[in-house]
Amino acid sequence: MTKIKSVCIIDDDPITVFGIKKMLSLLDLAEEIKTYVNGKEAIDDISKRVKNQETIPQVIFLDINMPIMDGWQFLEKFLELEVEEKIRINIVTSSIDPYDKQQWERFKEITHHLLEFKNKPIRKNDILEITKAA
């Protein structure tokens, strides 16, 4: 199994970030793990990378409820970026609001990236499955 070059986690909950990071390193799936505490930080950094033609994450773990810029707002901006590569975006949330599911369906329709919807908590088995190049 080839290692993923870059994985990023966007979540304001340090425990969740810790958990995902821990699992990724246990399974040794990623060469690089980047973390952001909200959507704004993430999109700012990723935009810069795209502009500078640096490596961008191949797999993104995205939380929805975050301050300043939430998951959906991030997604909106991210899809505006010119990223030809198919990125796997794992939406990881504890929300069971049908609205969020609908948003996911809507975004799936309009993007070439791979969108997954996962409820917390994430288990090791899940991680294995969803940390693959899209």
């Binding site: 969740t16 958990g19 301050p67 504890s94 917390k120 908590p121």
Partner: protein, 884 residues
Amino acid sequence: MMNNQNTLVGNYNNMLRGTPTVTLNYLVKQLPTATAFINKNYEVVHVSDKWINDFDFDNRDVIGRNLTELFGSVDKDWGKALKDCLKGIASGESVHQHLGADGALQWFEWQNIPWYDEKENIVGVILQAEDVTERINVELQAEKLETLLAAKSEITDVGSWEFDLERNRLQWCEITKKIHEVVPTYEPNIDTAINFYKEGYGRNTIAMAFDNAIQKGEAYEVSCELITAKGNEITVIATGKPIFKKGKLLGLVGTFRDITPKIKSELKSKRQERHFKSIFNSSYQFTGILDTQGTFLEVNETALRFSGLKEEEVVNKKFWDAYWWPTPDYVKDGLKEIIRAASEGEVMRSEIVVLDKDKNPIPVDFSLKPVYDEQGNIFSLLAEGRMIKEMVAARRKLKESEKKFRALYELSPTSYILSDFETGEILDFNSSFEETTGYTREHLGKLKVQDILLTVSKTQLLRIKKEIETTSTFGPEEQEYIKKDGTQFPVLVSGSLVGNKKGRKLLWSTAQDISESKLTEAQLREEKQLLKTLIDNLPLNVFIKDLESRKILVNKAELDYVGLTESDVIGKNDFDFYDKKSAQISRDEDLEVINSRKPMLRKETISVKKDGTSTSFLSSKIPLVGSDDKVKGLIGISLDISDLKRKEDELHDLINVTSIQNKKLVNFAHIVSHNLRSHTANFSMLLDFLVSETDAEEKNRIIKMLMEASDNLLETLENLNEVVAISTNINLDKKPVCLFEKIQNVEKNLTAYLKNHNAVIINDVAEDLEVKAVPAYAESILMNFITNAIKYRNPMRKPVVRVTAESDGDYTVLSIKDNGLGIDLEEHGSKLFGMYKTFHENPDARGIGLYITKNQIEAMNGKVTVDSEVGKGTTFKIYFNDKN
């Protein structure tokens, strides 16, 4: 004279031809007539001595001089006469005045003749003038004398007057004075004399005539109205004639005659004639006047119109030759005979038939009477004819209607009874009477009115008798008759008293069997009662309105609703019960229904009574169409649905509230589940790690995290609890809260905080402004917004929070305005008041404050809005509901 002169001129012409000029000159010079020859330039060529003498040209050389020079001017008439002469037209004689060199007025008779040369060419004009001054003066004198003589010879009514111009003296003779009704010593002058004439036409006419006479020497004779000194209005003929002596005007003489009696009598006879003529002509009778031989002398317009003839086609013709008589000869002979008889004094009169212009026979009442003169001799005959077409027709009609009456009498379903008013004896009845009562004509003579009348009491009889005696009629009134077999039946009786020739008082009575209509009436009454009971007991308001929307029938429910008695409602319209707006709406509906003839069905209406109470109705209005297919009004049926409406409204409100609550609940459930799940997920994950972790240090780390997660969960639960407390606290106790004070409190509590951040609160709320709020909430809300305003301050400037309040409809609006960071509403607006939403990278932001604040505001039935611009600041507006 004219002929004479023409001959004379002819002679001259002959003499002129072939005669040397010198001779001619000499000849002309000696002519006994004043003669002058002038050329085409009006220059004198030859002239007689007499001409020069007459015109006083003695000392002047006349030959070669122009007429204009000699006479000063040539007036228009003379100029025309001269021009005509040059064209070969001789002028007639005319008399002209000439003022001589000595200033005396002279009169000349002039004649202008064309002057021909040998070749018959006109070379000039021969002027002939004869001095007639003497003659005219003599004539005038004679006339004066004549007038004066005439005045004396007339019996009494012609007076005379004389005016001396030189002395300006007016003299009236006695008769003239008498006519003016002045005293014999009266001395008139021209002004007073003229003022006797009636102002206006009379006075103007006489003044003008008098002036003309003085200025131009013209005589006059005028007829004018004059008012005498005693004020009597009379008509006079006044004449005036200028008197000259040696051509000089000396004055005027004239006559004066009162013609009033003559005019009066003329007027009278004229009027009589006119009256006679108008009567004669406008009479509806044909009238003709014949001489005793039967010849038409006169015929009136009625007769002419009837016959279509002109007067001249009738007058002077024989009476019997007129075309309107029927042709047989004996008619003509008969007419001749009656004319002869009339001319001997007999008066004839009979109904005859004449033919009109279309040969239609016309019945005429004809008469012929002799007319006597004062001596008692018959001098003409008066023939009169009166058309009696209408009379004859009326006679026939009478016969017809009698026949009709007979038939009616016999066939009528009404009984007719003729009885003796005094005794009650029945003298006659018709077949209807026989049928209804069973009596036959055999009973006549034995039967009395009293026999067939049953229940009429004595007093009733007396009353009827009295009624008949005063008005000759009675009834109609209900009575009961008894049939021959003894059964009774109700009748409607009326009667009329007639007198017969012998002075016997007879009574014609009609009796109508009303058994059936009585029955129908009773049925109707019963049906009506049934209907009324039905309508009155309907749980609906029922009413009938006429075309003017006046109520003509209302049921009990409607009366109960308006709270009035029937007599207070009937005839009134909606404007009498409801407020103007409701009444107008109702009237408009009525008109629509009446005009369109289409019913208005089950319409929800609201009626507001004068006292302000409003009732919801489900109303129907149905046009009421009469048997003649015309709309008579409308039937209204209203169901009071106020209770229903109220319940419906309540239900609506309830549904609204429930739906909002439900939405909130679902939302809340999601929040709760999300928040709890995120913590439990963390627990689960961390425990998972802990179980498989071998490294002690890592274990410690995980346990620390578990504790953190536990703290977070607790905090979350506390937050949720707070929210639940607000949302479930339904019976909020709202009290008047003084906002100014509350802001002061917050300011006090935040003193240190404000000082730390160098922040200022400007409290611009009126000190006495109170809102209805839960005091704790109001404080919490203020605290939250104000701390937020400072928390999210702009580091570049000193934070200033300004609080103001204003009224907006049912709300008091509190504005909290800051100069902080501001917020991008486009991006975050939808989540601003959401739970756990933060927008600034501020470690203090928990994302719970605005959520709770909003819940508190909404729990008090208020609302909150936000207006913000990034970099400038934010304004929150809190709406406190003053109503509930």
